[in-house]
């Protein structure tokens, strides 16, 4: 593995590099605007939004949150192990991170299946328009994150590890961004009754 001296205290070299942080801020702004619009329209028709919210499966939402939080913790531990050059343990934590992400997708697919079989689609009402748009857009990010992590995993499990710490930190930052977005979506869609 390439051991590079990175100045983590520099604003121009945050963990993972400045580019990934620009992407993260843009993504958060995008989702933030979506949630702002959701909050705005929920005030116009609170009855509809309340009844639609009650139809969502809160248990799946909570389990998904716990899965993403655990997955994020495993990712943070992966980075810690890589910095200590303990690649074996890092690979184990990375596997757990991927497992959390895969379980999230399985549960989300189950939830979507339940909605589709119940006849709930993107055009059912305004609440579900936002629900499908924002959660599906988040799901796309989770899938993208898993693809990135698969490449990282392939990189650190090779006989001669080819990935450098900065790339790993950028991947981790992207994965944590999925956590951050879900932490905003979860209470807004599932909890605020």
């Amino acid at each position: 593995m390439e051991a590079k001296a990175i100045n983590y205290k520099s604003i121009y070299y945050p963990p993972g590099g400045i580019l990934i942080w620009i992407i993260i801020f843009l993504e958060l702004i995008t989702f933030g605007m979506g949630l702002f619009a959701f909050a705005f329209y929920s005030r116009e028709d609170p009855g509809l939004f309340h009844s639609s919210r009650l139809a969502l499966n809160k248990t799946i939402g909570v389990i998904n949150t716990l899965l993403l939080l655990t997955s994020g913790f495993c990712m943070a531990e992966t980075i810690k192990c890589v910095k200590k050059n303990n690649l074996k343990k890092a690979a184990l934590f990375l596997k757990l991170t991927n497992l959390g992400g895969i379980l999230f997708i399985v549960l989300k697919a189950t939830e979507y299946y339940q909605k589709i079989t119940a006849g709930i689609s993107i055009s059912t009402n305004l609440f579900y328009t936002y629900y499908w748009l924002l959660t599906a857009f988040h799901l796309v990010h989770v899938i993208t994150g898993l693809v990135i992590l698969a490449f990282v995993f392939a990189g650190i499990t090779k006989n001669k590890a080819t990935i450098n710490i900065e790339n790993m930190e950028a991947s981790a930052a992207f994965w944590h961004m999925c956590d951050l977005i879900w932490l905003l979506l979860f209470p807004v869609f599932y909890l605020l009754l």
Binding site: V62, F73, H176, L192
Partner: protein, 84 residues
């Protein structure tokens, strides 16, 4: 506890479970949003190591302020000497 990541993770799990339990009780919308913001900051600062950048900005800001102050004092002193 040595491992701050574990502590953060436990705290995040506990906060999630608490907000889920209290979600159905009366008007707790603002509390739920505040807890969500707290969880957001915990992940950003601890897991994403944003604290490194934050402390850097803080130190840089303080340092630049002290530099400006010292320069101002020196400039004022030189100006006073020149005028005298």
């Amino acid at each position: 506890m040595k491992n701050k990541n574990i502590l953060t993770w436990i705290l995040l799990i506990v906060l999630t479970l608490i907000t889920t339990i209290i979600a159905g009780m009366g008007s707790v919308a603002y509390l739920i949003l505040v807890v969500a913001a707290l969880k957001f900051l915990l992940i950003a600062f601890q897991f994403m190591e944003f604290k490194n950048i934050f402390y850097f900005i803080y130190r840089k800001f303080m340092k630049s302020h002290s530099t400006i102050n010292v320069t101002d004092i020196k400039s004022a002193w030189i100006l006073k000497m020149f005028l005298a």
